[in-house]
Symmetry: C2
Subunit: 353 residues, 2 copies
Amino acid sequence: MSYEKFVRTVVPYVPGEQPKDKDIIKLNTNECPYPPAPAVKKILDNMNYEDMRLYSDPEASKLVEAISCYYKVPEDQIFVGVGSDDVLSMAYLTFFGSDKPVIFPDITYSFYDVWAELYRVPYKTIPLDDDFMIPLEKFYSENTPNGGVIIANPNAPVGIFEPVSKIEEVVAHNKDSVVIVDEAYIDFGGESALPLIEKYDNLLVVQTFSKSRAMAGMRIGFAFGCKKLIKYMKDVKFSFNSYTMNIPSIEMGAAAISDDKYFKETCAKIVNTRERVKKELSELGFSFPDSKTNFLFAKHEKVSGEELFNALREQKIFVRHWNKDRIGDYLRITIGTDEQMDKMIGFLREYLK
Amino acid sequence: MSYEKFVRTVVPYVPGEQPKDKDIIKLNTNECPYPPAPAVKKILDNMNYEDMRLYSDPEASKLVEAISCYYKVPEDQIFVGVGSDDVLSMAYLTFFGSDKPVIFPDITYSFYDVWAELYRVPYKTIPLDDDFMIPLEKFYSENTPNGGVIIANPNAPVGIFEPVSKIEEVVAHNKDSVVIVDEAYIDFGGESALPLIEKYDNLLVVQTFSKSRAMAGMRIGFAFGCKKLIKYMKDVKFSFNSYTMNIPSIEMGAAAISDDKYFKETCAKIVNTRERVKKELSELGFSFPDSKTNFLFAKHEKVSGEELFNALREQKIFVRHWNKDRIGDYLRITIGTDEQMDKMIGFLREYLK
C-alpha cells in the first residue's frame, strides 16, 4: 500500500528481559532489590478504586509538590513523566530541532540514538577513552559544534561518575545548546548537577524513581531546569497527552519522596553491597570501572562475557550482556541483596575454578 | 539564548478543569459517574506494593490478552497506551508523515490539530454541515487528497454517530492513507468499526477505558488494526518509551475488561439517563443533535451558552463551553447519575423561568 512510504520506520530500543519466573535472580535491569518506602504501602492500602473514574490531575500537582519540597526547587522548574524515558523523549522532541547533531558518548544508554532516529535528528557519538571515561572537552561546542548534548552521569553501562565541576564546564561551553544530564543512577554515591540550574538556563537534569526509589513498575521520571525550559517541555507534553501520570503514580510517587530515612538507608545498603562485591569479584579475576551506581560493569581476565552470561543464565541468574564492539567481554551486573550476590559469587567461584 | 530558535514551540491542548472540591457536580470531562467494575476493586485491594520495584511488562501482556479475549482480536492486532490520547499521538507520529494534509472535521476533538502542529504535519479541516453531520464524501481521497484521515465516531463534542457502512466508505476511498476512527464514546449506543480491520489494512480503530469503563484516572487506551499497522506503531512506541503502562494500569485494566455484566449495566444506565434527560431538556427549550455518547451538546432557544455555563458554575455544576465559532451557544453536558442530572435540571427549570 502506498501509505507505507510515509510510515515512520524505526529500529526500537530493546529493554532487558522481564522474566515471569519468580525464582530467577534478576540482576539484568538495574532495579532496586528492596521494596519501595513503607509510606508507599500505606497509600496503596488506602487507595479507593472508585477514585479511578475521574481523570488524574493533569499537572500531577501532588507529586510535583513533593519533589519540589524535597529537592527545594520551585514547582515551575519541575517536569514529571512516565519514567525518565518519557521525560527524555519529550526533551528530545522539545529541544533537539537543530540541523546540527546531538552529541553523546559512543558507549552510553542505548536509547539516545533511538530517540534521535525516531525524531529524525542528526546525531554524532564521541568515543569514550580507553578507561571508559567520557572525554568531556570534546563535548564543548567549540570542539564539536552541536545542536544538543546528552550525557548520563554516572554513565551507563560503565558506571563511572564525573565530578559536577566537569559537567559544569560542558554546560558552560554549550550556551547555544540544551545540555541534558541523565542522572538515573545519581543516588548511589554521585553528586547531582541540580544546583547548576540556577546558574545555567541551558541545563536539564533528569532523574527517575525506577532505581533508588524502587518504583520501576510505577513509571515515574522527573526533570529540573530553569522555568523557561520546563515551560517549553510542558507545552510539548500537553500537546502530546493531557493526563500522563495516572492516579496511583501521583499518589504513590509523592509518598515515596516523603520517606527520606528509608530512601537513604536503601541507597546505603546498595552501596555497601556494591563495595563488598567489588572486592570479591576482583579476587575472582574480574576488573571493572569504579562504579557509583547500582551495577558493576565487569570483565573477567580469562573467560568471555558471553560465556559467563550463558553460564549464569543456566543457574537462573540473569545479568545483561551486549554483543557489541569494545564491551562484548563485559557483563553489567545489578547490585541485588547480599544473599543474591552471595549466590552469584558462589557460583562464579566454582565455575571459574 | 540561541538554542531557543530550535525549540519546538506549540500551543498545547487545554483539558477540562479537574477541580479538587468534592461538592462539585462534575459534568465537564465526560467521565463515568459510576465506579469501575468490582473486579478492579479486588485487584487493587490485593496489590502488593513490593511488586512495584520491578519494571512492568513492556508488552503489557496481561492487559493485551484481556482485550484480545474480550474483543476476539489476535494479540498482535492490539496496541495499548497511556489513554487514547497517547495512542492517537503515537499513531500520528507513526503514520502521518506525508506532505499532504491530514484531514478531519472542523468541529471535533480539539486535540487533532494540536498533534498536527506538534509533529509539523499539514492538516485541513472539513466543515460539518448545518446539522453538525460530517460530510463523509468529502473525506474520500478523490474529493480531498490527503495524507491521513481522523474521524471521531461518535463525533465529539456534538455526539452524533455515523453508521459503520458510511465509515467503511471513507476507509475504502482512502486506500493510500491510514484512516483512524476514534471511538472514545462507542459503547453508549454506537457500533464499532472494529470488524472492518479484517478487510482493510489502512484502518486503525481507537478506544479508551476513560469513559464506558470508568477508569479515566488510570490512563488506558487501545487500538486495533491489521498486524502490520500495529507492528509499525509498536516500533515507534518502543523507540519512545519501553515501559509505558505501569503495573496498576495493566492489572486493573485487565480486571475491568473481565466483568462484562457490570460494563453493560453501567453503559445501559447512562444511556437510560441520557434519553430521559433529552426529554426534560427539550421541554425546557434546549435542542441538541441526537447523541449516542455519554454527553449532550445542548443549546437553549433563548439564553446564551456562556450565560448558562456561568450560572451553572455558580451552583457548583461544571459543564464544558467553548467560546468558538458555530458552537459558542452550546454546552457540552456529561451524563451523570440520575441524582446529579435532577439537580442540574431542577436548577435550570428555576433559572429559565
